[in-house]
Subunit: 473 residues, 2 copies
């Protein structure tokens, strides 16, 4: 944006100062809006993302690195001029990775696999375990299998996930990771290895949490990369054709065997915490707008797309709204702790603040690629507001979705309790190439797409923070 | 291609056998050429590549895996009907990888790097070493540096390699790997770590050999991936601005420090070998055409593009030439051993057969992407032959180059001794994304491009194997 001061008047020489002042006054535009500020080459989101991933790097929940990240976050948010910057600590069970190695040991020469342990995996002990592989083409096949095909074996769960723009494959295919080990453990498996929940072809397996029911003793649980899973499947098919011994009913095939060393540890209850900052609203009686990301990350990469970028995006947008002029509602920025390992920060926030009225909750936790869709879950009173929001983001290539917004993990408890929510849905085509892998590093972020995120968030947040009590709770 | 047998004659009922026979005789085309056989949906190259990478996998020179690969190779080449299939053993020094870990330890919290040892690297011992990093923006900067900037430090060599279709960046940027550690060792470095010689952005560093001069004691030498090198550079730039202490001449910056554990071992002299097979020519006095690939691979991936595919391509082409009809010259197929670690197979072949006259030598060892250019280094007598070859491969999208052919590592000694050579140059745009990494796996091979390679090789080989003594030696 430019301010068209009529410099030519000076050149003419005959213009009086009064004429100039009058002209200036007549042509002066309003101060820049939040979205205009965001479009002036925003680098706030980038610098948060770069600094956090460079100076702290991986920040596994409950560790010294996550504590260092909170200290860093408080200093950064204070330096940016936000109000009431604070840490809200909480306790959580802490799990950390150990050694992780695997080999296909038979019927061919041993071949090493690229493996990573899943969060809450049990340890094999340092000497590891070895067993026959029970192959299941997907999670449903494991669910349907009789126990005797699983008992005493290392379960392998395959899948066929492919990239989608809206990331919708994660829920369906992700079940193999979320609860595959639990199902296998109940059927007597000695360990579970899954084809990593990812869409890339690099030998960097995707980690992530797996969950055991109360009363089910955790077993070792790992994920191998897509090329390793392909290799396992090829060997498994060949082994099926290799005759180990003959019986009256046909031959017994050679088993495909795996050796597995995973030595993660449970460290017990440790400290984590949420970092909170605010843009104070002019109407202190109005309920706040809450915007969230998470500060912790998995340990394999530096947590650039998951979720340093999310913190960068929401914080840059809040800063632009603050710079443009005090909003009516308070904007509360939540950098949640311990999201990856069980959303402990989101739960702690809800326990502490769930009784308070929130106008609307939004989260950025799906990478750094562009926002392509806006979805709403708002009260009926907000229909005109939703129309205004959809119109405001349309110039940035954002379409209006037809499904209700779902929120995000860290605001999940708020949304479940009825707080309105809006999704600024990011393009997920590349997301599961990188998600929870060592490859989640700064170089994967496209500054142009990151900037579009900030512009869309700024446009949205400016409207929400100035919405009326008739529109939002 | 189809053979139009007039089946309709049977349906008419009135056709005599004589008429049918005459019709068949009149319309019968010549038997398919080698290139036509290759175009009938070749899967020989694919099956060699798939079977070798699946059943053997990584096959580091001098190891049990490489020996198993030779045994596999002999059985496969015999099964394909080649003549005089044999192993020609040789001795070679054997180096194997150990543990490999690295961290940036200061001035920030420790962050783990993805590192791999370079072939012939010394060991740090199991406890590792830690030291200040001396940063050099490229190999030339290290060459120019005074010893006191290097002595007692861990040298880091950066570079700026980008992909090229002809792979020409490897020679220039590769110097950091080929001899960087040697240069650093002579200046007193305690270890050398390079930005891996690769063009991808995955945390899978590229290994490869490094070379120490006689009389220079090897030091630990590793490579880190591009994202890790980016992180190191970002931390190095920040550390330069951090004031550790003040002096009258200015401040002393915080050093960037690295801890390094690399425990490779030299196993001494072990056995390796070349595997050789032949398509016997009709003129036993004519000198043979030699075509080469290498059977060994680095240990991180399964050696799919480097160089199982090369063995698949040349062998499929030789098979198609053999099937199409006996050629005049013998085609000798060389699956060389121990290429990656010092071209020991190529040297052993030359020592044994270098005195023999060879008509022409070709190698396939640059991946599995399509052939895009043909280059020649032939005697003047072969000018019409080169024209025929260029015309034969043009229908497959192959252009004629203006530079002399260079051959390949395993035929390097032959070419240096004057044997004519032809390059069927493959597209290298993706090659250094994968080269010498864990990602060199079967899924990276495009079957369509692999098939184009076989067709181009079949067209070329059919002409060469039937060339006259007036054209080639």
């Amino acid at each position: 944006m430019t301010i068209p001061i009529p410099f030519r008047l000076f050149a003419l020489g005959g213009a009086s100062l009064a004429l100039f002042a009058a002209s200036l006054s007549a042509s002066i535009p309003p101060p820049p809006s939040a979205v205009e500020l965001a479009q002036q080459g925003d680098d706030l989101a980038w610098s948060i993302t770069e600094d956090l991933t460079t100076e702290i790097g991986p920040r596994m929940a409950g560790t010294e690195a996550e504590a260092a990240a909170r200290k860093w976050a408080i200093a950064r948010l204070q330096a940016m001029g936000f109000a009431d910057v604070r840490e809200e600590p909480f306790d959580m069970p802490t799990w950390v990775r150990g050694a992780e190695e695997a080999w296909l040991t038979s019927p061919f020469l041993p071949q090493k696999l690229s493996i990573t342990a899943l969060g809450t995996s049990a340890s094999t002990g340092p000497k590891g375990i070895e067993g026959d592989i029970a192959y299941f083409k997907n999670f449903d096949a494991l669910l349907a299998a009789p126990d005797h095909l699983v008992k005493g074996r290392i379960v392998f769960i395959d899948h066929q996930m492919v990239p989608t723009q809206d990331g919708s494959g994660y829920g369906a295919y992700g079940r193999a990771r979320f609860i595959g080990a639990n199902v296998a453990a109940k059927k007597g498996a000695i360990a579970t290895v899954i084809r990593a929940i990812g869409t890339d072809d690099h030998r960097n397996p995707h980690t992530g949490g797996t969950n055991f029911e109360a009363g089910v003793a955790p077993i070792p649980a790992g994920a191998i990369s897509n090329p390793d899973a392909d290799q396992l499947v090829r060997q498994w098919k060949r082994a099926r054709l290799m005759r180990k011994s003959e019986t009256p009913l046909g031959y017994i095939a050679e088993p495909l065997r795996m050796k597995l060393i995973l030595t993660p540890q449970n460290l017990g209850i440790r400290k984590s915490g949420n970092v909170i900052a605010e843009v104070p609203g002019s109407d202190r009686g109005a309920s706040p707008v809450i915007i969230a990301c998470h500060l912790d990350s998995w340990d394999l990469g530096t947590g650039a797309i998951d979720d340093a970028a999310g913190c960068g995006i929401i914080t840059a947008a809040a800063k632009h709204v603050m710079t443009a002029g005090q909003p009516r509602r308070t904007i509360r920025i939540l950098w949640a702790g311990a999201e990856e390992v069980g959303v402990f920060g989101g739960k702690a926030y809800f326990e502490r603040h769930g009784e308070q009225k929130h106008a609307v909750a939004l989260e950025s936790d799906f990478g750094a690629d562009r926002v392509w869709r806006i979805d709403f879950k708002l009260p009926d009173s907000a229909k005109p507001l939703a129309d205004r929001l959809a119109a405001a983001v349309a110039p940035f290539g954002v379409v209006r979705g037809r499904q209700p917004a779902s929120g995000g993990a860290d605001i999940g408890a708020l949304v479940a309790a009825g707080v309105p929510t809006i999704d600024l849905a990011q393009d997920g085509t590349r997301y599961f190439d990188l998600h929870h892998t060592p490859d989640d590093t700064l170089d994967k972020i496209d500054p142009v797409q990151l900037r579009q995120n900030v512009a869309v968030w700024s446009a949205t947040l400016a409207i929400l923070a100035n919405s009326s009590d008739a529109e939002l709770p």
